[in-house]
């Protein structure tokens, strides 16, 4: 069958659009990915000459204490922040979706943290943690607050969790609200007839209906928290004594200026694989849950 002139034109135009788009994507996404993979088998410092070292970098990666520490911090941070963010934003969304006054103004206010840049917010919080909170702690006699959280190896990560959640909650709340709006009013009415209310109403009626939004938030949150960078840069620069060094920050810091271009490329590649695995696992688990319901 011969294609009509119009159909031919359509096919050709689509091809002429797709090829450059694919080329652009290849050039700035796939090509650097392949190059990064290649560098991960070298001892490249970021300048000068380099040699192939085979799997050396990958073997070293698993025995490198600093890398291990950064994975531990990043996962601890991501997991704790994801849980806190989702609990608070769900509660906040339920509140913002109930019959309240000034609904749209309140929703608008609670979204503000999301539009502000992570770096500047980090700097503002850094001041609060360093100067304001200790003063409050000393005055009220709370020992745990009387010195700066950011200079303590045990507590600095909590400060980063607070700032990370402060920003992420805004986004998750909006998504939960849009989820809650999909729940039809008669579900609650039917529940009320059966005498279901309060926590039971939420657990048995509301939550199952917004599971898709819950899974979006989990995946989104986890991925963003695992790639934390701006907050670290603004609050601690990985310190004190590398206790808050995230994987992204370590790759940036040691790869770009620490002469570990090759080694950190291996780290970045492992990190990439980890992110893919987590995203796939999370999506399959939540998909399966959705099917069951």
């Amino acid at each position: 069958m011969k294609l009509s002139k119009g159909a031919q034109d359509r096919k050709r135009t689509f091809m002429l659009i797709t090829i450059p788009v694919l080329a652009l994507f290849f050039c700035f996404n796939t090509l650097p990915l392949i190059k990064g993979f290649m560098y991960s088998f070298t001892n490249f410092k970021g300048y000068g000459s380099y040699e192939w070292v085979g799997l050396r970098n990958y073997i070293d990666l698993f025995s490198d204490a600093r890398v291990g520490k950064s994975y531990w911090f990043t996962f601890k941070y991501a997991l704790v922040s994801t849980i806190i963010t989702n609990v608070i934003s769900l509660v906040l969304a339920l509140g913002l979706n109930s019959k309240i006054k000034c609904k749209s103004a309140l929703r608008g206010i609670y979204f503000i943290p999301n539009v502000l840049g992570g770096l500047v917010i980090g700097y503002i919080f850094s001041f609060i943690f360093t100067y304001v909170l200790p003063v409050i702690g000393q005055t009220l006699g709370i020992g745990a607050l009387s010195s700066s959280m950011l200079s303590s190896t045990g507590k600095a990560w909590i400060a980063i969790v607070i700032v990370g959640c402060w920003q992420a909650i805004a986004m998750n709340t909006i998504i939960y609200i849009s989820g809650l709006q999909t729940v039809p009013e008669d579900v609650y009415e039917a529940g009320a007839i059966d005498g279901v209310s309060g926590w039971k109403q939420f657990k048995e009626l509301t939550f199952p209906l917004i599971i898709p939004f819950f899974s979006i938030n989990m995946v989104l949150c986890m991925k963003n928290f695992l790639m934390v960078f701006d907050q670290i840069m603004a609050l601690t620069k990985g310190g004190p004594s590398q206790s808050t060094e995230s994987i992204s920050y370590l790759i940036y810091n040691n790869g770009m200026s620490g002469g570990q271009f090759g080694f950190q490329s291996a780290n970045a590649f492992v990190f990439f694989v980890v992110i893919v695995i987590i995203s796939v696992v999370q999506t399959t688990i939540t998909n399966r849950k959705e099917e069951q319901l």
Binding site: L24, P32, F229, Y252
Partner: protein, 282 residues
């Protein structure tokens, strides 16, 4: 609403009040930023009352000084340039790409592969692309604003392509076919018929792309570090390393960096909220 019984209309005051009190957590950091930005170094005392009090006078001198030190207008100009160009390129390139690929996927292995190939780019963290991209942009002679814009255009491609394609699946082919019968070329049909229909998606793409570009630190940090050009967030980073101890000046500078995006949010709040929800849920 046919039912207007009392229970449905009562305002839940306890929750309203709790939520209003909760706003303190949002406003407290911003309040701190404002008062510190207006204070003089001599007003920075070491007790609660002093730390939380309003400044003695509302002088703009810190802002003038901060603007001079950080070369504010230049950084603002760069941020605007990067954001606007990226948004325009995203709408043009991703819109076209979404249309061409989305409309051809039915029964075509090639286009299905192309779509999955680009969308899977969403999983690639910037950390892995960062170091090779620095080398690559330097070799190509675009370790500057051009390189940053090209990188953004590619980073946002997976999400935007997905959004455009998803939107197009709900738009019937009839209009395009009618235009074809009338003898219009595919290219012309796109710009005169499809592009205007996709307007709601352009808004979503514009909001998402603009906010990510405006607040991004990492890409310009690694790619344009050698050019002496700053974006607004980058200027704060450099400011912090040079004059980290003068908090009043620093906070004036931070506020200046926050004001443009806050204004944008106040003006386009509805579009931004819609855009964010669309981007995440679709």
């Amino acid at each position: 609403m046919h039912k207007t019984n009392k229970a449905a209309r009562t305002v839940n005051w306890p929750i309203t009040i709790l939520l209003i009190i909760g706003c303190v957590t949002i406003f407290f950091p911003l309040y701190m930023a404002v008062i510190i930005a207006f204070k003089q170094p001599s007003e920075m005392t070491n007790d609660i009352a002093g730390a939380l009090a309003l400044p003695a006078s509302w002088s703009l001198s810190n802002f003038a000084e901060a603007m001079r030190v950080t070369d504010f207008w230049h950084s603002l100009g760069n941020s605007l340039l990067l954001t606007v160009t990226t948004v325009v390129l995203s709408i043009v390139i991703h819109g076209l790409g979404g249309y061409a690929i989305g409309r051809s996927m039915k029964g075509s292995k090639f286009y299905n592969f192309a779509y999955l190939y680009i969308v899977s780019g969403m999983f690639v963290p910037f950390a892995i692309l960062m170091m090779p991209l620095v080398k690559q942009t330097a070799q190509m002679g675009i370790a500057n604003r051009v390189g940053v814009i090209l990188c953004y255009t590619v980073f946002f491609m997976p999400l935007n392509l997905m959004l455009y394609r998803g939107y197009l699946t709900n738009i019937p082919l009839a209009l395009e076919e009618a235009a074809r019968v009338d003898g219009a070329t595919t290219w012309k049909t796109y710009w005169s018929i499809v592009f205007p229909i996709m307007k709601p998606m352009h808004a979503t793409v514009a909001v998402l792309t603009a906010m990510s570009t405006w607040n991004d630190v990492m890409t310009p940090l690694v790619i344009m570090s050698g050019t002496g050009q700053n974006t607004l967030p980058l200027a704060q980073l450099n400011f912090q390393t040079q004059f980290g101890t003068n908090y009043n000046l620093a906070f004036a500078s931070y506020l200046l960096a926050l004001i443009p995006i806050l204004l944008f949010y106040i003006v386009c709040q509805k579009q931004i909220l819609n855009g964010v929800v669309n981007g995440a849920v679709k």
